[in-house]
């Protein structure tokens, strides 16, 4: 069976013809287990004396906890242990603390307030699942419901209730300075003033639940040598292990995680909530403990792809060239950060889509609301904004009276073009994709559009980095303090200009921790052998500095008396010892 069609005529000099795997179906190595039902998912591991753990959850979007009375539950048949917030050794975490990104903002069990419906406040461990359920439903919590906010724009409005006390302005904080992630390339206001038409659009995406058939869960059990074994549905085994070690303030060497066979994940099984719960249960009860979400929990508290809102303003020339594009984007993180902060950075790197536009600006917000916390799902950070961009392209085509496919080919990026985040585009293929899609759909495009190639016409002037307008607006807390309305790029503060051609500092992403961990190019030779001869590609005028440059060069100071733009104090680095951070985090132990 082969449903893939290869266009061997395209980019034929970029790959050898003797590939033995690419383009050929390969039988999965685990397929025999799947068809015989022998593949062992986490719940297929059986333990004698297994206990069951169930949570008491908030019925409110946003509520303070006045009191919790579990005296009835404690006395019920089969109940072994009640687990409360005080039983969690380090009851505040943010998932991306493992890469030093963001502040701790989410408890495993909440003691003071809950910020989304279904947030757990207590857990019951009992002999049977039914006993755990009945006991959990007998716990009496006195709630004080608080005003809640379920929409990103409302959450940014002056006077909106604070969802997450770690971020009192309801926005994630970027670079310890701004309430949003900025992207500035050229000068969009200048672009708008030169345009013949302005096309504006608003695009909304609802949350989507991954809905795996196997619900999230984990079974943990005391093991020999003072260790705990944990069978889990996680999609991110070592991430879950490190998060568990951190929340339970224990050495990761005490944890033996076993996973890898996952009954569907799609991004919804990375949040590492069930593993710390199960291991904590096993530690407190001294018995094997299963913590498994039922279908209702999977749908209600399982983190979905978050809602997004994108507002796009384009300045377009009469011939269809897009001269300027401005984005205001909102990611609805729900009540806690999880991975949404990263989705914002990822989406910003994707702007303005696969098009060469000389002036681009974007402000993208990671907004806290009282919805279920959002997380990864299939291309998150990209899927939503791509939907918005492509809807906007159709609107632009309509506004200038052009064929939508030809408009895309006209504005498509080509090899050698400079992208808005100051990297040279390579291996671009949008033009060819458009041509093949039009052909497949029986959509007629002009001979001129059919002749275009992503290998030609790029670079040159299109590779230049324009003079860029900068601003300092949207500093942390400013919006709430000065009651600044939610309006794109509105705010006070100094403006500046960065000279044309400024590529920005080259940052070596992650220097090797030890010399023997450095890449050995000799050993990579086999991969390089695939390229039989140098690829013929147009030389670009401005290459960004080498990725292996030694030290980051500071940006030239902005011309006006403005604070220097943000530069990280140190390159992104894993395994750096940070005060207050558990020394058992992945990567730090070897120090």
């Amino acid at each position: 069976m082969n449903t893939v069609e290869f266009r061997k005529n395209l980019f034929s000099d970029e790959r050898p013809e003797n590939l033995s795997e690419i383009g050929r179906p390969t039988v999965r190595q685990d397929i025999l287990g799947h068809v015989t039902g022998r593949s062992a998912f986490y719940d297929d591991h059986q333990f004698d004396g297994l206990l069951h753990m169930r949570c008491v959850r908030s019925p409110h979007h946003h509520a303070r906890i006045r009191s919790v009375d579990f005296s009835n539950a404690e006395r019920m048949d089969g109940v072994r242990r009640i687990v409360g917030p005080n039983d969690v050794p380090k009851n505040l975490n943010t998932l991306l603390s493992l890469i030093n990104f963001g502040k701790e903002d989410e408890p495993l069990l909440s003691g003071e307030k809950t910020a989304y419906r279904g947030e757990p406040v207590l857990a019951v461990i009992a002999d049977t699942e039914r006993q755990a359920r009945v006991a959990a439903s007998s716990v009496r919590v006195e709630w004080e419901p608080m005003p809640h906010v379920l929409d990103v724009e409302e959450a940014l409005a002056p006077g909106a209730p604070t969802v997450n006390e770690t971020y009192p302005d309801n926005t994630f904080e970027y670079h310890e300075r701004y309430d949003h992630q900025k992207l500035r390339f050229g000068d969009v206001d200048k672009g708008f003033s030169e345009a013949d038409r302005i096309v504006e659009g608003r695009y909304r995406m609802s949350p989507i639940e991954q809905a795996p058939i196997e619900t999230c869960g984990a079974i943990a059990a005391p093991d020999t040598g003072d260790r705990f074994v944990c069978y889990t549905s996680t999609q991110a085994l070592f991430f879950s292990l490190a998060t568990t070690a951190k929340l339970l303030d224990t050495a990761s060497s005490r944890l033996h995680f076993i996973g890898g066979t996952v009954g569907g994940g799609f991004g919804g099984k990375v949040d590492s909530i069930v593993e710390p719960m199960a291991v904590l249960g096993a530690m407190l009860s001294g018995r094997p403990v299963k913590f498994m979400w039922d279908r209702e929990e999977e749908m209600q508290v399982g983190a979905p792809r978050g809602a997004e809102l994108w507002i796009i303003k384009d300045g377009v020339a009469a011939d269809g060239r897009i001269l300027a594009r401005r984005f205001t984007g909102y990611f609805d993180a729900g009540a806690y950060t999880r991975l949404s902060s990263y989705a914002v950075v990822k989406s910003t790197g994707h702007l303005p889509g696969p098009y060469t536009i000389p002036n681009v600006a974007s402000n993208v917000y990671c907004v806290f609301t009282n919805r279920t916390p959002a997380t990864a799902m299939r291309g998150f950070g990209i899927t939503g904004v791509d939907y918005a961009i492509e809807c906007q392209m159709d609107r632009v085509a309509e506004a200038v009276g052009m064929d939508p496919v030809e408009l895309r080919i006209l504005n498509a990026y080509r090899d050698g073009d400079m992208k808005a985040h100051r990297r040279v585009a390579k291996n671009t293929a949008l033009i060819e994709c458009c041509q093949v899609a039009a052909e497949k759909a029986g959509w007629r495009i002009s001979p001129d559009s059919t002749r275009q190639s992503s290998l030609e016409g790029g670079g040159g002037r299109r590779a230049e980095i324009p003079e860029t307008a900068t601003d300092q607006i949207g500093r942390i807390g400013e919006r709430r303090r000065s009651r600044i309305p939610v309006e794109p790029l509105v705010g006070s503060g100094p403006r500046g200009r960065i000279p044309a051609g400024t590529a920005g500092p080259a940052v070596e992403a992650a220097p090797p921790q030890r010399p023997d961990m450095a890449m050995d190019w000799e050993r990579e030779k086999s991969a390089a052998d695939f390229v039989r001869e140098p690829v013929k590609r147009p030389k670009t005028a401005t290459q960004p500095q080498s990725r292996l440059a030694a030290a980051p060069e500071p940006l030239p100071p902005a011309q006006e008396k403005a604070e220097a733009p943000y530069i990280p104090k140190a390159p992104f680095n894993r395994g750096v010892r940070k005060p207050g951070v558990s020394r058992f985090l992945s990567g730090t132990r070897r120090r």
């Binding site: 699942e129 039914r130 359920r133 009945v134 439903s137 039922d294 209702e296």
Partner: protein, 265 residues
């Protein structure tokens, strides 16, 4: 811990009903509640009674045992006109479990078969020996102390019974709404139509306004126009994850028109 009590007959099972006790038919409703730890269920009563599974005819009347499953309805020649209703419910596994009697008690958005029973003007025989019509049953089903043993109705003439279901998933899923209708006509004119919806209220409901607007009319675009525009009149469908109340009210006239004119979905 749930106690299970099995009886020889459905009458004995009914006699054992008391507080915190449920009767288990096919299991699709009761087991779901038990699995999710419904603490109001402490006892399950069962009847190993072959007579409640029987489907038979008495003269011109069809008698469905309340324990007949959707698969039984599909397999029986007596109920061929109900095949489209039964086939629209669940996949094959649900159909081999779900019973006719259980569907009468199914909460919104379930209850396609109950809507058909309502359209057919059925009489229900209860285990206490009484008989009740479907409309009164739906009003009282929450507080009923006996069980439904049999469902009886007059066999509709060929082509008189119609059923349409609209769901958001192909090939099938839960109803956004479904319509069951008995449309008798004499000399080309409709008389005494009975139209019942599933999904347009908390229980299956009749479209009384549309029924009245159809009286004496012909089944063509002009003849049905008044009935179609009255399709949602007086009804307050619920909002839920399947569809909003607004959407259900918009769908009802479209589906009713397709049903009355025999148009494709």
């Amino acid at each position: 811990m749930v106690e299970v009590l099995a009886f020889e007959s459905i009458a004995q099972a009914a006699a054992a009903l008391r507080d915190r006790t449920v009767y288990l038919g096919g299991g699709t409703l009761v087991m779901r509640a038990v699995n999710f730890g419904d603490s109001s269920i402490e006892r399950i009563v069962l009847a190993n009674d072959p007579s409640v599974k029987a489907i038979r005819t008495e003269g011109n009347r069809v008698v469905l045992g309340s324990g007949a499953t959707m698969a039984d309805v599909l397999a029986s020649k007596e109920t061929a006109f109900l095949a489209s209703v039964a086939r629209g419910i669940g996949g094959p596994a649900v159909r081999s479990m779900a019973t006719v009697g259980g569907n009468l008690f199914a909460q919104h958005p379930y209850g396609d078969f109950a809507a058909a029973i309502l359209a057919l003007d059925a009489k229900l025989s209860l285990t206490d020996g009484s008989e009740i019509d479907m409309g009164s049953f739906l009003a009282r089903r929450g507080s009923l102390r006996s069980l439904v043993a049999r469902i009886q109705f007059e066999r509709p003439a060929s082509g008189e019974f119609h059923f349409r279901k609209m769901s958001r998933v192909k090939p099938k899923g839960v109803s956004v709404i479904s319509i069951a209708a008995l449309i008798p006509n004499s000399a080309g004119r409709v008389s005494n139509a009975r139209i019942a919806y599933c999904g347009m209220g908390e229980t299956p409901v009749r479209a009384s306004a549309a029924e009245a607007a159809l009286e004496g009319r012909t089944l063509d675009p002009q003849g049905i126009a008044a009935a179609v525009s009255a399709a949602s009149a007086g009804l307050a469908p619920p909002d839920d994850a399947i569809a909003s109340s607004w959407y259900r009210k918009e769908v009802a006239p479209v589906l009713l028109r397709r049903l009355l004119l025999g148009e494709a979905d």
